[in-house]
């Protein structure tokens, strides 16, 4: 019965029927960028695009996992099935990763309505973003109504990933003033909700005001969604000390309503598709090109010629695309 | 115990405490302090390791340079089996080997000697009759690398001859042969009692080996002056210290009288101590010994070569402290004793197997004994710095005290006319017997506690795997010896026998002749018999 012997089609069928093992297997193939991953994604794609997708980003120690743990409970209470993609950094040296998020999600470990998948950021050729985007599609296909993406930090990769989400949460903690400055430019712009977690720490109020100022500073003109800054205390050993989570959920739902009322949701979905299209393109083209160069020794030749100053990257790429893509097109 | 009382200095904090004496009968203070150094001149009395007077160790880098030699004592009757065990031990990390001889060999008799019947290869000793046995015993060993310690005394000249002859056979340069011959006859008269010639000729044979090794086997220790057996017979640590050193000095005197140059032979003299149960007394014993030896060699005998001042010692943990009851307890005893020997700066160490009190050690118990030293060396950190206990108020005080006590005993011995006179008067034998008696008494009175023996005694049935010698071994050995004798040239043997007698009479060095003799196949028994004819045998008047 070895699940690994199933054909892409059969696997996809099982995923659609909500089979966890099959889904898990497909996700692995996607992660490993195996050849028949695309086959399965083709099967699954038509059955995706309806879930609510929430993205959380923010640097380590900001309490994202704990926050997600609370969100899962709330969505489950609403009777929604939940999928979680938790991305943790891989070691650049060994390529290994320590994925610890499940410790925080323990209270859901036996809930069949929750599907959690930990991912190492690895050193993806095509970029982590593409893998994540595909994993989200798989989770949609298996029928999860809410999908939460957790990513670390604020690199370009993360921004790309977050583009997949409809509602994007940026999680900060007091005493991260500098980070906030840095983020004004980057993620601040795509954040729909800014969560100030650990709001019971000193300096929380100051930080709160700073953030609100920053938000308004970043606002474009015209009617639109005004990012909310929401204080929370998620990491508390006593349930009574947990604060702001209900408001946060409310905020998320408000943003979703906003998206649907203003039909912005279509825009968001379009963005997502555009994003994915770009990622897949980049990825596949790269594959094709390198596949073509493989063994020919040309690649080394190009590098040499550029090093020697007889050539430059731009000309090289033009030349390569001209040859290889044409060949591809003829078929 | 009330704090304030002491403040006004009225109360002696230790009033009411029972006095405590150690194994040597010296009274021990409850606490030692800096005042022990009041008369110490650190440069003069302690110095640095590798420097006169060597209290802190005989080499400048000690175990930082090279660890002590892990020298395991072992033997099995049949030379071939014994050989296998040597290989096994070395492969487990032993860096030296000590070999015991079986009773007949110790008594200078061959396996086919009627007196040897039933004793051949028993009690963990190897039977050496001929050079062939020596070949089997050391087969496959690189004699230029491993150092072999022969626990051999009265018959040392013959064993050494066989060893040298084998070296020639194997083409191993004598210069490279390393090892030790126990070869200490005085302690045999004093305690161990395995002697045959009278003291005079016995000592002369030892001087022959010393002279021979000094010239031909520079890496070989011709003698290991042994306190271990004195202690096993009952000598207290202080007696062990004093008697052993005075024996050492006696050999030095005789060697000088015999016209040897002290700075040539003294560097080859080595010692053999026991590691007692009393941890600190033991450490102090070694440290005192180093200082006394250095000072006497330099100041009394005028040695100029620093190597002559070095008290180099092999140590064995105390077999007599082990109990047949609750065998595993012996692991603990051996561990503590081994630690103290290392803290005392020994050059090589044998750790007893815990089942020794019951049987010849099994491979497993031998291995554990070996591991004990390895854990000590690699894990405990005890070897990380040199003479780690130096400066300890207690250790230094005890060292000073033992040194002083030792000088008293030297005086007593001198007053009765020296070591040999002392032996003939039965002084050593009596002293040791008394100590043994006092110790036994203290056990029976429960003043001294031995766990499992006179305290915390248990009912127990010990099922231990005894290692027994192949019952046919003796038969086969005799047959082999017979075969060996048959293929010799009797004429040659007769010639060599005469040669041997004549050098014994003339006083020339016996070694060259003996080597030729054993090469021709003369047996140990035959050689000793020749010497007995010339030297006669010693009978001790019973001591009560």
């Amino acid at each position: 019965m070895g699940i690994k012997d199933l054909s892409p089609k059969e696997l996809a069928q099982r995923v659609l029927s909500g089979d966890r093992r099959a889904a898990a297997r497909v996700i692995t193939l996607v992660e490993d960028q195996s050849d028949n991953a695309n086959e399965m994604m083709k099967e699954l794609f038509p059955h995706t695009g309806r879930s609510m997708i929430i993205g959380l980003t923010g640097s380590g120690g900001s309490g994202k996992s704990t926050l997600i743990d609370h969100l899962i409970s709330r969505f489950r209470a609403m009777g929604k099935t939940v999928g979680v993609v938790a991305v943790d950094p891989s070691s650049p040296f060994s390529g290994g990763a320590l994925l610890g998020d499940r410790i925080r999600f323990q209270s859901h470990s036996m809930d069949d309505g929750v599907y959690i998948r930990s991912m190492g950021s690895r050193g993806y050729l095509g970029g982590l973003a593409r893998a994540t985007a595909d994993v989200v599609r798989v989770m949609e296909a298996m029928g999860n109504e809410v999908i939460i993406i957790e990513t670390l930090g604020a690199g370009q990769d993360e921004i790309d990933i977050i583009h997949v989400a409809q509602t994007c949460l940026l999680v900060l903690t007091p005493g991260m003033g500098d980070d906030i400055q840095a983020m004004k430019a980057g993620i601040m712009e795509i954040a729909d909700l800014i969560v100030l977690n650990k709001a019971d720490l000193d300096g929380a109020n100051l930080c709160l005001r700073g953030l609100e100022a920053a938000v308004h500073y970043g606002l474009g003109e015209g009617p639109g969604w005004i990012p909310k800054v929401m204080p929370t205390v998620a990491c508390a050993s006593k349930s009574i000390d947990v604060q702001g989570v209900d408001d946060l959920v409310k905020g998320i739902m408000e943003h979703q309503e906003f998206l649907y009322e203003t039909r912005k949701i279509d825009e968001v979905r379009a963005n997502r598709i555009e994003q994915e299209l770009g990622l897949v393109f980049k990825d596949e083209v790269e594959k094709v090109v390198f596949a073509g160069l493989k063994g020919t020794g040309k690649k080394q030749g190009y590098i040499e010629s550029i090093r020697a100053g007889d050539n430059d990257p731009y000309s090289v790429v033009e030349e390569v695309l001209a040859t290889f893509l044409k060949v591809e097109n003829l078929e | 115990m009330n704090h304030n009382e002491h403040e006004d200095g009225k109360v002696d904090p230790y009033a009411g405490l029972d006095p405590v004496v150690n194994m040597s009968g010296l009274e021990i203070e409850p606490l030692y302090g800096p005042d022990v150094f009041e008369e110490t001149d650190f440069a003069r009395d302690m110095g640095r390791p590798g420097e006169y007077p060597f209290v802190r160790g005989v080499y400048p880098t000690m175990y930082r340079g090279r660890p002590w030699t892990i020298r395991q004592l072992m033997s099995l009757g049949p030379p071939q089996e014994c050989n296998q065990r040597i290989h096994h031990l070395v492969n487990m990390g032993a860096t030296g080997i000590s070999l015991c001889l079986d009773m007949p060999t110790i008594m200078g008799r061959d396996s086919d000697d009627p007196m040897a019947e039933g004793e051949v290869g028993r009690c963990g000793g190897v039977a050496i009759d001929t050079i062939q046995d020596m070949r089997d015993l050391l087969a496959g060993l690189d004699l230029s690398k491993i150092s072999i310690n022969f626990v051999s005394n009265s018959q040392s000249t013959v064993i050494l001859a066989m060893f040298c002859a084998l070296g020639l056979e194997l083409g191993t340069d004598w210069e490279l042969l390393s090892g030790t011959m126990q070869n200490d006859i005085l302690k045999e008269y004093q305690a161990q009692k395995s002697y045959y010639f009278p003291p005079e000729p016995s000592v002369r044979l030892i001087l022959d080996t010393i002279a021979f090794c000094t010239r031909n086997l520079p890496k070989f220790n011709p003698i290991s002056i042994s306190g271990y057996h004195l202690a096993s017979a009952g000598a207290t640590p202080i007696q062990e210290l004093a008697f052993t050193l005075s024996n050492g000095f006696y050999y030095v005197e005789k060697a000088i009288e015999a016209g040897l140059d002290i700075d040539e032979f003294a560097p080859r003299l080595s010692f053999f101590f026991k590691a007692h149960n009393d941890f600190f007394e033991n450490v102090a014993k070694f440290r005192a010994a180093r200082r006394i030896w250095a000072r006497t060699m330099k100041e009394k005998f005028g040695a100029r070569n620093p190597a002559s001042w070095r008290f180099r010692v092999h140590t064995q943990t105390s077999g007599s402290s082990l109990t047949a009851q609750q065998m595993e307890n012996n692991i603990i005893r051996t561990t503590v004793q081994a630690l103290s020997a290392v803290m005392a700066g020994t050059q090589s160490l044998h750790t007893n197997a815990h089942d020794e009190a019951l049987s010849i050690p099994t491979e497993r118990s031998e291995k554990l004994a070996l591991r004990t030293q390895q854990i000590l060396l690699y894990e405990s950190g005890a070897a990380s710095t040199i003479d780690p206990l130096a400066g300890s108020y207690y250790v230094e005080a005890l060292t000073q005290r033992m040194e002083a006590e030792c000088e008293d005993i030297f005086r007593t011995i001198a007053d009765m006319g020296g070591v040999v006179a002392g032996i003939e008067k039965g002084y050593f034998q009596r002293e040791i017997a008394e100590s043994a008696f006092r110790y036994q008494e203290s056990l029976e009175r429960g003043e001294r506690v031995v766990v499992g023996l006179n305290r915390y005694v248990e009912e127990e049935e010990t099922e231990i795997q005894l290692r027994e010698v192949d019952p046919d071994f003796e038969k086969n050995k005799i047959a082999a010896l017979k075969a060996f004798k048959e293929q010799r040239d009797p004429e040659q043997i007769r010639k060599r026998a005469e040669e041997l007698r004549s050098v014994c009479e003339s006083g020339e060095n016996v070694m060259p002749v003996l080597i030729r003799a054993v090469q021709e196949g003369m047996t140990l028994g035959e050689s000793v018999a020749q010497m007995k004819d010339v030297f006669g045998v010693y009978r001790e008047q019973a001591i009560f």
Partner: protein, 565 residues
């Protein structure tokens, strides 16, 4: 020849000496010229290393401030250390039996250890307990279990150490007091100790039972109660040992142990107790690892540091407040399952170190600990080890026999210097409570533990049988294996269920209600627990009641509903 040559040559093949290995061993220098904690050791220490030292100020005689050389003038001349064995296995009845066995064989103190279910504050009938009750210690679910455990042991004669570390220490104390009074003992005369160090226990996997505020609250309740009611009782053993087992170094053991101790002290002072009222009953649990001299130096440094801390920081006046009283537990993590009898050797070194260090009470690991719970034979051997050191080796004749050694004194200074550095680091973080709350300490433990493994992997630390002198793993445990009977667990579980049915519900309700009120009013909870346990409230219920007052779930495992709702 006397034996068949063919056979002997065959064996020769098997046993040809590897001469390179031989030479390597022959010339090999000590594994490391660093201490276990990684500090460089000079080749030689001399009087020059001790210049500028003041004997009175820095060392002092045994029994004198700063107690570097020992707490008492006469040390072991006055009395040997207490030779303890830790027992706790199966049901309270089984444990009582094993305790009796140890006393028969010369143990002079008794340590009874709680199992994981009890430490977690679960009754034997808790779903999570089913599989594990009695597996690693004993579970005391209610007063009757305590009665069985005590049995005929004369509480006024033996020195009993209750090893319950977590917040469950509070119910334990209550159960012990209730039973003792019941048997007619005057508790103010009872000698013994309770581990009662909930803060450290979060690092041993009992976080759900040991939230920080509750740990300080209940831990301090026990300390306060004993200070007032049981003047002869040692009400806490701050467990530096467990911290060390996490893989930290010797000076870190001191620094973090002291840090936790200060959390309690500050709370007791906050409650208005005078330092000299309670400090004399403060005790510690110290590790003795395999590096003899470093461990000895650690102990001596800790004694000196504690004396100075109590005098200078807390203004203690009574010398007894300044005395660092400690028990030693030989290092479990220094033992390995390979060639298990070698552990006897390690334990002997570690025990000897503790005695050199002037230990008050010593527990030797059983050699089989890396394989199973101690067997009777294992216990016995551990005990014999202590007895041999006490009676045969003569090391007890002199207080602080290594005192003055250039190496030991220098290393003692080094330990103090490093420990102070680590204490400063914690202070700069805002104190120990903060370091714990922010999980800074967790991260420190993690880093250190990984370092330790790496040292062994990289042969920086040699362990015989692991990375040097390895040999075929043994197929059996030399002195046998300890098993736990499932039946006694079963019967204990049934007993709890029965008890919960049989007890008088009203009396129970009132008793628990009072406990809740006292907890809510910030009163000391022990008196109310004594009453509650007499009303047959169980361990889980008593803790649950207080947990709820503090806003925690009744059940630390979050599956049982509160019976008080």
């Amino acid at each position: 020849m006397s034996t068949d040559p063919s056979s002997s040559t065959k064996t020769k093949e098997q046993r040809r000496v590897n001469w390179d290995a031989y030479l390597q061993a022959y010339y090999e220098k000590p594994a490391s010229t660093r201490t276990w904690s990684g500090y460089d050791v000079k080749e030689i220490y001399t009087p020059l290393d001790r210049t500028g030292e003041s004997y009175e100020k820095d060392i002092g005689d045994a029994g004198e401030y700063p107690f570097t050389r020992g707490l008492h003038r006469d040390m072991f001349r006055g009395r040997y250390w207490t030779r303890r064995e830790v027992v706790g296995i199966g049901s309270p009845a089984d444990t009582h039996e094993r305790a009796a066995y140890c006393f028969q064989n010369g143990a002079t103190g008794l340590n009874t250890i709680a199992d994981v279910t009890y430490e977690m504050g679960l009754d034997a009938d808790h779903p999570w307990a089913q599989n594990e009750v009695g597996l690693t210690g004993v579970n005391i679910s209610h007063i009757q279990d305590m009665e069985t455990l005590v049995g005929d042991i004369p509480l006024d004669k033996v020195s009993w150490s209750l090893i319950t570390a977590s917040t469950a220490a509070a119910p334990t104390m209550a159960q012990y007091v209730a039973v003792a009074r019941d048997k007619g003992y005057d508790i103010s005369k009872l000698r013994g100790s309770i581990q009662n160090d909930p803060i450290h226990f979060r690092y041993c996997g009992f976080r759900p039972a040991c939230p920080l505020d509750l740990s300080i609250k209940l831990g301090s309740d026990v300390m306060e109660f004993c200070t007032r009611e049981m003047p002869k009782w040692y009400y806490t053993t701050v467990n530096m040992y467990d911290l060390r087992e996490q893989g930290i170094t010797a000076p870190q053991e001191i620094a973090y142990g002291f840090g936790i101790a200060m959390c309690y002290i500050d709370e007791l002072i906050r409650r208005g107790l005078d330092i000299d009222d309670f400090a004399p009953r403060f005790t510690f649990y110290v590790s003795c690892h395999i590096d003899l001299f470093e461990e000895l130096a650690k102990i001596r440094a800790a004694r000196r540091m504690w004396a100075r801390l109590m005098k200078e920081k807390y203004g203690a006046k009574n010398p007894r407040s300044m005395q660092f009283r400690f028990a030693v537990h030989t290092a479990g993590c220094s033992l390995i399952p390979q060639q298990p009898l070698n552990n006897l050797v390690r334990i002997a070194f570690e025990a000897l170190t503790a005695v050199f260090g002037g230990v008050q009470s010593l527990h030797c690991c059983s050699y089989d600990e890396p394989m199973c719970l101690p067997t009777e034979k294992g216990h016995l051997q551990a005990l014999r080890t202590q007895q041999i050191i006490a009676y045969e080796t003569g090391v007890t004749n002199v207080a602080d026999p290594l005192g003055g050694s250039y190496y030991v004194e220098s290393l003692t200074d080094k330990m103090e210097e490093e420990a102070l550095r680590y204490m400063k680091e914690v202070e700069d973080l805002g104190g120990m409570e903060e370091a714990i709350r922010t999980e800074w300490l967790d991260h420190r433990f993690e880093q250190e533990a990984v370092k330790r493994q790496k040292e062994v992997d990289d042969l920086e630390k040699l362990v015989v049988g692991v990375n040097v002198f390895t040999s075929e793993p043994e197929k059996t445990t030399p002195l046998g294996v300890q098993r736990v009977s499932k039946t006694s667990a079963k019967s204990q579980i049934d007993a709890v269920k029965k008890l919960k049915m049989a007890r008088d519900p009203n009396r129970w309700k009132e008793a628990v209600a009072r406990l809740r009120d006292d907890a809510a009013d910030g009163k000391n909870t022990i008196p109310a627990m004594v009453e509650a346990t007499k009303a047959f409230a169980t361990t889980g219920e008593m803790l649950g009641a207080v947990r709820e007052v503090f806003g925690y779930s009744f059940d630390p495992m979050n599956i049982l509903n509160s019976p008080f709702a």
